[in-house]
């Protein structure tokens, strides 16, 4: 597994230039049909946040300040939705990465481990903009800049690592069976509701809360903006996240080693 991780890092660094170029192309393609392309790329996730805030505050009359949070409810909500938006599209969309780029795999000597990065980079770019918007909104709503904000790159890195392993794993499984994408589509909603994106899961018991990596990442962003908690203060959750990531990485490595010799012919 260690050699696979080294291979992944080495290949991704080697192919970064190509991956960035493909990401740029993907962003251009996604917004090539509209004149205000970039505006829609940011307006859509923002509207998503406002819609949930409106539904919870007006519809459910439940937009109460969260216990232990130093930020207003809106910032608490947005700091969970922003990482979810980065992850959610890739939960399903990432699974097609190897199939979508089969022309590169079949006709060109290109490291397979650099393929999952291609769909992630455009989303990561939008995510950086959204984090910027979140910071501006937090400042406008009276949240003072804090030393805890320095943890943001760590949680973004953890989100990136989780989504890379997820995209690689589902991408490889999708090569074996196309039914997998439908299965993930079906469970995506469950991930949303059981990851505490919209409600406070602190203190709630249950394995899905304790070992859910998406919940850990969303809570991490809230530690930065709302709870002001250091990453090492939640040792148990960090340990659980580590266990899940090691298991996911081991399984992905196993799948990769199983398929790497035959990937071009299976696509």
């Amino acid at each position: 597994m260690i050699t696979w991780i080294i291979e992944v890092i080495r290949d991704n660094v080697k192919c970064l230039n190509v991956s960035l170029s493909m990401a740029k192309k993907e962003l251009k393609r996604a917004h090539s049909k509209s004149d205000l392309g970039w505006f829609w790329a940011i307006a859509k996730p923002l509207m998503y946040i406002f819609m949930f805030y409106f539904a919870i505050s007006t519809g459910f009359r439940n937009a109460k300040e969260i216990e232990g949070s130093v930020a207003p409810y809106f910032i608490w909500l947005a700091s969970g939705i922003v990482p979810w938006q980065f992850i959610s599209d890739l939960l399903v969309g990432g699974a097609t990465c190897f199939v979508r780029h089969k022309s590169i795999i079949k006709h060109f000597k290109y490291p397979y481990t650099a393929i999952p990065t291609i769909p992630i980079l455009p989303k990561l770019f939008i995510h950086f903009i959204m984090v910027g918007v979140l910071v501006i909104m937090a400042l406008l709503m009276g949240v003072r800049p804090s030393i805890y904000w320095l943890q943001l790159p760590i949680y973004t890195l953890l989100a990136f690592v989780f989504i890379y392993v997820w995209v690689c794993m589902t991408g490889l499984l999708n090569v074996m069976s196309a039914d997998l994408v439908e299965f993930i589509k079906t469970i995506r909603t469950a991930f949303f509701w059981l990851s505490g994106i919209l409600f406070n899961t602190r203190g709630k018991k249950g394995a899905f809360f304790a070992y859910n990596p998406i919940r850990y990442i969303a809570e991490g962003y809230r530690n930065v903006f709302a709870y002001h908690v250091w990453i090492w203060e939640q040792k148990r959750l960090l340990f659980n996240f580590g266990i899940v990531m090691i298991l996911m990485t081991a399984f992905t490595c196993l799948l990769y080693r199983r398929l790497e010799k035959r990937l071009p012919e299976l696509l």
Partner: protein
């Protein structure tokens, strides 16, 4: 004696034809219930020396492409070894990373970066490439709005820019029979030098005879003839299965259908 560039030693390759996705999944996960075995390369050995121009003959789905991909290091052999000196330039897909909704210039940049060109090389070669592809005035227009065949033309010019020492051309790329493809042939002929090692997969001799002097005939996964080009072609033509197999033109036409300009690859 000239140096050996390619040494293929007892190479074998088997594909599996799965009846269903479930069968494929089961085989991949627990190694049981494997699909029907299709031995495309049974025991293939040969050597190619520097400067040789070799055509690999064989009928459709007879393992030529697989052999080319194994030499290029894209597909791994099941058994045997392949030693290749130097890095071969390959022409297996003109439309590498093509995105029809983006401009020809954007597509050029991605294709060139995939081939490992530096930023300076991309800039330096841009003018020459767009001129040769006949797209100088259309580089900012989305490829889907450019005349039909533009993506293929652009890809061909990019792929042949680095034709220097060692070049592999797959059958699907061995030119079609229309006027545009005759232009490809003309450009290709100008770029082939006596020092260059060239390996072309082919089903007939229309597009390979002017370049190749040696022919290897691959039938049923084994080499049945290896010798002078004309004799190799006659041997291949005389094989009963040749009559029922597709001609190169049919293969290229089939490939052209696959490569519809509006397709997102």
């Amino acid at each position: 004696m000239s140096e050996t560039i390619i040494k293929v030693d007892h190479v074998r390759k088997t594909y599996r034809n799965y009846k269903s996705n479930f069968q494929k999944l089961r085989h991949m996960l627990i190694l049981s219930g494997a699909g029907e075995k299709n031995r495309v390369l049974k025991d293939v050995s040969f050597e190619i020396k520097k400067g040789e121009k070799v055509a690999i003959f064989g009928y459709a789905h007879g393992g030529k492409s697989t052999l080319m991909h194994i030499i290029a290091g894209i597909i791994r052999p099941e058994a045997g070894t392949v030693e290749v000196k130097g890095k071969p330039e390959v022409m297996f897909d003109y439309r590498l990373g093509v995105e029809p909704s983006l401009s020809a210039l954007d597509n050029y940049e991605v294709h060139a970066k995939l081939l490992g060109w530096s930023r300076a090389q991309i800039k330096e070669r841009q003018k020459e490439i767009f001129q040769a592809a006949g797209l100088s005035k259309m580089k900012d227009i989305p490829l889907k709005n450019c005349p039909k065949g533009s993506a293929t033309r652009l890809g061909f010019v990019i792929e042949t820019m680095d034709m220097k020492d060692f070049f592999l051309v797959d059958e699907r790329m061995t030119f079609g029979n229309n006027k545009i493809n005759e232009r490809y042939l003309e450009r290709f002929a100008k770029l082939v030098t006596p020092e260059m090692t060239l390996v072309m997969a082919a089903n007939d001799f229309k597009y390979t005879r002017q370049f190749c002097d040696r022919g290897i005939v691959l039938h049923d996964g084994v080499i049945v003839f290896d010798g002078p080009y004309e004799e190799a072609y006659q041997y291949h033509k005389g094989h009963p299965q040749h009559k029922s197999s597709k001609t190169a033109v049919e293969v290229v036409e089939e490939a052209a259908e696959d490569y519809d300009d509006d397709e997102v690859i």
